[in-house]
């Protein structure tokens, strides 16, 4: 912070000739090109190091201890890689990880398909388009906790979903007051549906800006040359939208793998452990069962797993951006 304030003093009064007072000389030194460009960089890196990097180093240290909340930190014994072995040997850890990918995969595929269809339907101007866009973008702004709460109200056994289904169920003698969140599979899809409700708005937004960026001349040229609408879609629209698709896939997958809020609000990981995502599982281990060293080892392992995906995602984004730049030139 201090770093970015000092040059502000320099900017207010450009350095005059003659002998400047020491304060101004410092400011002049700071506003030099080679110094100035580094100040924000250093400030931001300092924030990252203080808030993110140091805690991670500490976590690596704690993960090598054998320590739970029942004794002081200073008396913990050193235990080597015992915690890592315990994490890797736990079935719950692997199942939670697999479930996270299952939720994220199902949710992201649905969001991409629906978001794309909606953006395609709305990419040309017609009456009411702005209103639709406004409504479709609204879920992105709704606080995720509120989304979880809303859907828990809808799935409740005497809620509106069962009321809608009642005319179809009652003739068969089924009690329409189904407890959706008590059945493992239904609870899993209930969470996926809540995620789709909220985040289709984001894929929709990305595709919409992708359609807005389409060079209209190319589409017109294809039409003049006699391409049919389906040809225009598959041969012109889709290839040009590749950057948007990549961005949507990367961003949504990354966010979906973090899934936590709907799990807490809707099911608390239940019934049994059938809706525990990895984030929920770790939260429970550390904040409910107070297994600090175990949680530290698990979070380091998780970071290593995720690093593969993160770098894959970043690589895809970089490649996409460079291809855009090449087209420009």
């Amino acid at each position: 912070m201090a770093g970015s304030r000092q040059p502000a003093a320099a900017g207010a009064a450009p350095p005059s000739r003659g002998r400047p007072p020491p304060g101004r000389r410092l400011a002049a030194w700071l506003s030099q090109e080679r110094v100035f460009r580094l100040i924000p960089f250093i400030a931001v890196e300092a924030v990252f190091i203080l808030v993110i990097i140091i805690p991670f180093i500490l976590t690596i240290y704690i993960s090598l201890l054998r320590w739970r909340a029942n004794r002081p930190f200073e008396q913990a014994n050193f235990s080597g890689f015992l915690n890592y072995g315990r994490v890797l040997g736990k079935d719950e850890f692997w199942m939670a990880l697999g479930r996270t990918f299952y939720f994220a995969g199902a949710a992201v595929i649905l969001e991409l398909l629906i978001g794309f269809v909606l953006a395609y339907l709305l990419h040309r101007h017609f009456r009411g388009r702005r209103l639709y866009i406004t409504i479709f973008l609204a879920p992105m702004m709704v606080v995720p906790v509120v989304v979880g709460y809303n859907f828990s109200m809808i799935y409740v056994d005497s809620g509106p979903l069962n009321e809608i289904l009642a005319p179809f169920l009652e003739p068969f003698g089924i009690d329409p007051r189904i407890r959706w969140l008590s059945h493992p599979l239904a609870a899993q899809w209930a969470i996926i549906l809540a995620d789709v409700w909220q985040w289709t708005s984001l894929t929709f937004l990305i595709f919409l800006s992708g359609f807005a960026a389409l060079p209209q001349q190319l589409v017109d040229a294809a039409r003049v040359l006699g391409a049919s609408p389906s040809q225009i879609f598959w041969r012109v629209h889709l290839p040009l939208l590749k950057p948007a698709i990549i961005i949507a896939v990367v961003i949504r997958s990354m966010e979906a793998l973090k899934m936590f809020d709907p799990v807490v609000l809707l099911t608390f990981g239940g019934p049994g452990i059938s809706t525990q995502t990895i984030a929920y599982y770790l939260w429970q281990e550390v904040w409910v069962f107070n297994k600090y060293s175990y949680g530290a080892a698990a979070s380091i392992l998780l970071l290593i797993f995720f690093a593969v995906f993160i770098f894959l995602g970043i690589w895809l984004l970089v490649r996409q951006r460079e291809s855009v730049r090449r087209v420009d030139v």
Binding site: V44, I247, L303, I314
Partner: protein, 310 residues
């Protein structure tokens, strides 16, 4: 039939199908929000009645009075023992304070860095992507180290250095600092897409006439990206406002943000309090949705990630 007539017929049918799909999705989007709004005006007996009431039969603002009450409760309000926990004021204040200050600091830091990246390619040509990695790390992976850092290492270090145990766990500063760090990548990304579009020649001209670096930035660049600054600030504010995991794990019981308060009633042992929850949900949703609608046009641009080039 003339060919023109047939194509017009087809266009009508297309428009009809399009509106049918769009209206179906509109219903799916609007219904949960409507249900929350209507529950928030329902009396206790109607929250989970069967068959459910599509609209409040006995319209009441009791739920809102409960959450906005200060502390002294009238007899009609003290229906059960958890009344004290309802008051939303503390959480509202905490949320507003942390989110507005953290978003502002992130914006200030991020704008300068975005400018440096855009103009001088500070940190190398790949740096703008590398900075996104921080955003992609799952928050639970950050929360565990931060818990140990705030609750163990900082008290331990301060005791060694100053002789007093200072903890950052459950403090405004602790949560705010984390919000600054986790939203910085977004600030930098969004501001980059705005600053990249400011022509360099303008700055060059200002520099030629003897303006300082900082003067150029403040008088030439920042006014040109003013709308970008506002949009980015609001967007980051919304991100912090809806953040749940970090607030849940790193604060208890002193600092309470609104999502944490809403979650408190979810597992309440005396039965869930659907009405007040719906009222809280409505209260924390409406401002951000309004903000979102206001910045909607710019969001489309901010989220283009360099796809839109002019």
């Amino acid at each position: 039939m003339r060919p023109g007539g047939r194509s017009r017929l087809r266009r009508y049918r297309q428009a009809w199908v399009r509106h049918a799909i769009l209206l179906a999705w509109t219903f799916f989007i609007v219904f949960p929000l409507y249900w929350m709004l209507s529950t928030s005006f329902k009396d206790a007996g109607e929250w989970v009645s069967w068959p459910p009431h599509w609209y409040p039969h006995e319209f009441t603002i009791h739920n809102y009075r409960q959450i906005f009450t200060f502390s002294a409760l009238g007899e009609e309000l003290s229906r059960d023992a958890t009344e004290q926990a309802f008051s939303i004021w503390k959480a509202l204040g905490d949320s507003l304070l942390i989110c507005s200050v953290a978003s502002f600091l992130a914006l200030v830091l991020g704008v300068f860095l975005a400018y440096a990246i855009s103009r001088f390619a500070v940190g190398g040509s790949k740096f703008r992507h590398i900075i996104l990695t921080i955003r992609m790390v799952p928050p639970i992976v950050i929360a565990i180290p931060i818990l140990m850092y705030y609750a163990i290492m900082i008290p331990f270090t301060t005791e060694l250095l100053f002789g007093a145990r200072i903890t950052l766990f459950d403090t405004y500063f602790g949560l705010g600092a984390l919000y600054v760090a986790t939203t910085l990548p977004f600030v930098i990304w969004m501001m980059l897409s705005f600053i990249d579009e400011v022509p360099f020649t303008l700055e060059h001209a200002a520099r030629m006439m003897g303006a300082g670096r900082m003067y150029t930035l403040r008088r030439v660049v920042l006014p040109l990206v003013a709308s970008g600054l506002v949009v980015t600030y609001l967007f980051v504010f919304i991100l912090n406002w809806s953040e749940f995991l970090l607030a849940l794990t790193l604060t208890h019981p002193e600092v309470t943000t609104l999502p944490v308060l809403l979650n408190k009633f979810q597992s309440a042992s005396e039965g869930r309090l659907y009405g007040p929850q719906a009222a809280i949900g409505t209260v924390i949703t409406i401002p951000v949705v309004v903000l979102g609608v206001l910045i909607q046009k710019h969001l489309i641009k901010g989220f283009s990630f360099g796809m839109i080039r002019r």
